[in-house]
Amino acid sequence: MGNYMGESIKRREDPRFIQGKGKYVANLHIPNMAHVAILRSPYAHARIRSINTDAAKALDGVIAVYTGQELIDGGVGKLPCGWNVPDIKVPDRWPLMVDRVRHVGDSVVAVVAESPYIAYDALELIEVDYEPLPVVIDARKTTEPGVPLVHDEIPDNISYAWALGNKDETEQAFASAEHVVELELINQRLIPNAMEPRAAVAQWDAYTEEMTLWTTSQNPHPIRLLLSAFTLGIPEQKLRVISPDVGGGFGSKIFHYPEEVIVPWIAREINRPVKWVCSRSESYLTDSHGRDHVTVARLALKKDGTFTGLHVQTWSNQGAYLSTFAPLIPTALYITLLSGLYKIPAIWGEMWGTLTNTVPVDAYRGAGRPEASYLVERLVDIAAQELGMDPVELRRKNFIPADEFPYQTPVAFLYDSGDYHRLFDKALGMFGYDALRESQKAAREQGRLVGIGVAGCIEASGPAPSQVAGALGAAVGFWESAVIRVHPTGKATVLTGSHSHGQGHETTFAQVVADQLGMDINDVEIVHGDTGRVPFGMGTYGSRSGCVGGSALVRAAEKVRAKAIKIAAHQMEAAEEDIVYDRTTGKLHVKGSPAHAKGFAEIAFAAYTAHNLPAGLEPGLEESAFYDPANFTFPNSCHISQVEIDRETGEVHIQHYTAVDDVGNVINPLVVEGQILGGIVQGIGQALTEAAVYDEAGQLLSGSMMDYAVPKAMLFPMFDVDRTVTPSPHNPLGVKGAGEMGTIAATVAIANAVMDALAPLGIRHLEMPLTASKLWHAIQGASGGNGMQATNETPLGGRDEPGDPANWPERQILSD
């Protein structure tokens, strides 16, 4: 009974997964189901002159073939952008494109057939006459003269610009700086690669005119809203969206995708259940990508290492269209985090959202925050090197002190809590930092390339106060819903608007509710991911489930307790204030006489029989809450790694890795550790192996699992993982987000280690991924080897130097 908070309880969802009983969308089979396949553009940019589907239609087993125009005539709408910063230009995007395609993989024709094999055969029979157009791929080239426009109505291929901070103070900081570190860097494009490819199944009920859509989504309610209000037009009360078990998302399953419109539209059109399952190769060309920044950053310091100013300019590649939340990522989740763990009195960050002939870019695990951490922590490391300081000492010198929280940064955020010295003390101790620095010296003397990388990172998790989100451009709110439905026997069904795609809500949320009400955890059932069963909720992303969804559960539980106390007081003839609700036993008694207690189940039964309730009290025991957070939470982390680079092959061997994260209180340490571990590997993937690579014609060269290196088990040692705890003061659980911290910190912890290893060769910075071949070439170049040069173009190739503040472009300042 009760006492479940902080317990490493094994997950209750696991038995179904380990026995092959996961309920993924692709596993759904409905009798008489037809199968959809989508024809996708082989060109990065082309005009569609004509489409001939006759041969496809004539193929045995093909039920129908639809073009974009037919969908428009049939009432489908444009895919909307859900985040609108000032003066944004949102390009048109249809579920199937009509007269022009703008990236390889853009959808053009849909086929529905008796089997998926036949549907794919039919795609081969469709003739599309394309007139190829010139392309632009690189964010930094979008505004160059003569570059083609991705959308004719959007000049310079700039969809929006955004800036934040105190510009004048920043100018002054640089004018009076004793030392300036300048760095141009690329945060390369990544492909999320959730192991379950996207899928959708739709069933139309012609009698009730109700549509059910099963889709691989992290947030089924917002998808229903967008389908209803913008793309499909079926009223919300007639539309049920279900996300059953979802096989990972990492952001890529937040967004509203064309297939979520096409599949139900066809199901209604042919009045049959319809299924579409994305192939992995298609998912590379259609799932929203992540990151893709080109940045120039400058840090102003005093000689003693005190940070005085930071100036950042970023060209963010948004792809061919604006994906659902694309403009949020490089604005309010990126520039707002540029203060890192540090007191930096003056920060000015500005960015341009550029359109290119590539797959749209949106949130990918970390989303904006890894980009901020990477650049801040690279700058700090280079600054330490240039000033001859230890990178840990430089960081410590500039930390926001523990007694200065809540801390207002110059870039809008008010950090809730933290103790960065304690965080670092713990991590450095676990890692054995001083001893390993000593042995690094010895290794260097032997000519070995051993490096140690430190990263201290901040995250803003648990978006967000809805009002703030609205002011920043959100078209939706960011609260979360919860219902606790106590049954007459004292068991509970709990509905949450949050959604698990691997996080384990069925276990952790049951812990929260059982703990709050003093119930046996086995009496609590969690329901999520079904708009037909759960009230409107916002879903899971931005590490928000615990802080926002969990807090909503607490608020609902408080109401259940209050009502139970009312009933108990009435029945025991005592004042409400005199009733003790013992959460460790789930019993209620009058103060001073615990022997005469009523059990929670007894109270629940009384609530439903309603034979003896206080006057005016409604029967039943079911409460709901909508929780809107007061602030983001600000988890922070110190990750430290040691690597050795093989001089002969350029290969990086990770020798030690320590991660200490402050994610506030934790509900289930086992689950939180799992999130951190998985995040670390994704973060290291960016540092060492992963990159979405386009050629000049806009073909995605890393377009399959053969070419895009999702990291494998043997790349890693065992990670040493622990936590410090500074509870978030503004949510009832004191929790902070835990889902993304690992990814945010690991990339730069490894990148800094690799650059530290190469420092004796005079190499200052290399772009990720730090592959064996790139490092081998760099080592050869630096040691005069075979004369080959490291491929590490400067990101602004040819652009004007941004250094002089007089040249900084005027942009809208959102906050001072």
Binding site: K10, E13, P15, F17, Q19, P197, E673, L677, S704, K712
Partner: protein
């Protein structure tokens, strides 16, 4: 073409197209959807099953090639209760979204059977090279395989 094969101890005969992949046969014809599909280039291992006693990626085999074969899928691994490998994945939190899990477990079972109870962390990590997991960071999977290896013992 007509094929007959034994899956999880039960014999099935079906008429199939020669091009039908074994994984599609298992999932669509036999409705055994525990075997997942994560890629189309034989990289991910989500589709791993046991074919005549070996761990095989069922997306790389045509159904007709498995004619006459004995197959085990995740659904048939344990008989009743849980196989020690399934139990270990649960105990060690070796899964999050669960999508890679059936393939991981099928691969890991054969890995342990090949090496016995003493296999090293390195052998486990190399043995799982054909199975990708995007959620767990592998660490708890390695620990799960270590636990199951101890329990299963034996080896050649």
């Amino acid at each position: 073409m007509q094929v007959t094969m034994t899956v999880n101890g039960k014999s099935y005969t079906r008429d199939v197209e020669p091009r039908l992949l074994l994984v599609d046969f298992i999932r669509s014809e036999l409705a055994l959807t525990g075997t997942n599909i994560g890629c189309d280039t034989s990289q991910c291992g989500a589709c791993t099953i046991h074919l005549n006693g070996k761990a095989v990626k069922s997306c790389t085999v045509f159904a007709v090639q498995a004619a006459g074969a004995e197959l085990t899928t995740i659904e048939g691994l344990a008989g009743t209760g849980l196989h020690p490998m399934q139990q270990a994945f649960w105990d060690k939190h070796g899964l999050q979204c669960g999508y890679c899990t059936p393939g991981m477990i099928m691969t890991a079972v054969k890995l342990v059977e090949r090496h016995g109870g003493t296999l090293s962390e390195e052998e486990i990590r190399h043995g799982l090279a054909g199975n990708l997991c995007r959620c767990t960071g592998y660490q708890n999977i390695v620990k799960a395989v270590q636990q199951a290896a101890t329990e299963m013992g034996g080896g050649d």
